[in-house]
Symmetry: C2
Subunit: 231 residues, 2 copies
Amino acid sequence: MRERPAVPMKSAVRRTTLAVDVVVLSPRAEALAVLLVRAPAGARERWTLPWDAPQADEGLEDAAARIAEAVLGEAPAFFEQVGAFSDAKRHPGDADVSIGIVALVPAGVEASSPDSGWFPLDGLPPLAPRHRAVVERAAAVARQRVDQSPLAFRLLPPTFTLTDLQSVYELLLGRRLHKASFRRALQASYLVEPTDEWRSEGRGRPAQLFRFAPRKRRGARRGVRFDLFTE
Amino acid sequence: MRERPAVPMKSAVRRTTLAVDVVVLSPRAEALAVLLVRAPAGARERWTLPWDAPQADEGLEDAAARIAEAVLGEAPAFFEQVGAFSDAKRHPGDADVSIGIVALVPAGVEASSPDSGWFPLDGLPPLAPRHRAVVERAAAVARQRVDQSPLAFRLLPPTFTLTDLQSVYELLLGRRLHKASFRRALQASYLVEPTDEWRSEGRGRPAQLFRFAPRKRRGARRGVRFDLFTE
């Protein structure tokens, strides 16, 4: 009756070529920026995302850590898959399938590779179409998640001013936030705690430094947030 | 200086084997259930997720639609990737990499394949370890997303009672909701509208049927929801 079984035999798995494409995001000069590396001579575009194939028995996140470390000098603390891409779009290595992985790096971390550069998301050089799609998805995922997880703290050094924190949220959300409302919501969340350090910003009073220190709240089981559906 | 370039040449892409594993979720008998199919003779487990390799030039979601349709008789309206799995866990087809895709199907839709069955999430038969991991991730993704997108409506027929809707939310969230609070939040969200139909439930007054009809709200740009971080 059925034309094609829903569960094939083992021989049905297709041999394909796979790449891990890493989108390293970081706040740079008041923009959310992507780390790109210079392409090998003869490539169609001059810049690409850091990418490679996973090695035998290497997990996808492990591969992403290795690939990012080759450019940054150290592996970012945070990785998240943003999707598998299997379409006709050209990949610089002609991989059939790309696993896109986003990594977040705090402001101030510099790349160790001289053949790399940070480019603002809205001012990227030409990229292979698959890489362009991976970058767009990565930025979209980071923006969607900013509300539901403490992603913003991954983009900051261990201690930061509340102005630094607000700036990172504004970069991720792509719009300005009202300062008093932001601080009120932050205070209610018990996500940060003050340190004993202060930083002089050159003018006005020095600003106190804070650290990420979420406190467990009792009875925090939320209901259904229908208000999030229709933005 | 660098030991391994961050951008390899084309020859570096690894040949690998790829499978699309589909987790079809649906409310069945007051549980969230997964659609499984009987494994071919000689397989180590008797049941598996519907899976197959993507065909040449077939997108991953297209492959998922084809695979689900082979069991259900029609393609589900909703698909979402839940992750790429590349680990040492055994896949029934020995695929190196699985792309896990979740599909949501309304209550009442029956599978057309006789070699299939719905199993409650907390009462699954033995599955290959990779498939077990894909199911767990799919359920987690559905539960995370229920607050941020109208997923619940994908699990309902086009018209439904508010009790039906609340039940689906309770299945997805894995806990009871307070009826009056649920209806108040729903009303404030302008997500559903009443129809002219009513359904008799056997006892008491008939219940009015509603449909999903989100109304655009002005000024719905939300701030930062820190309260979602620490559940």
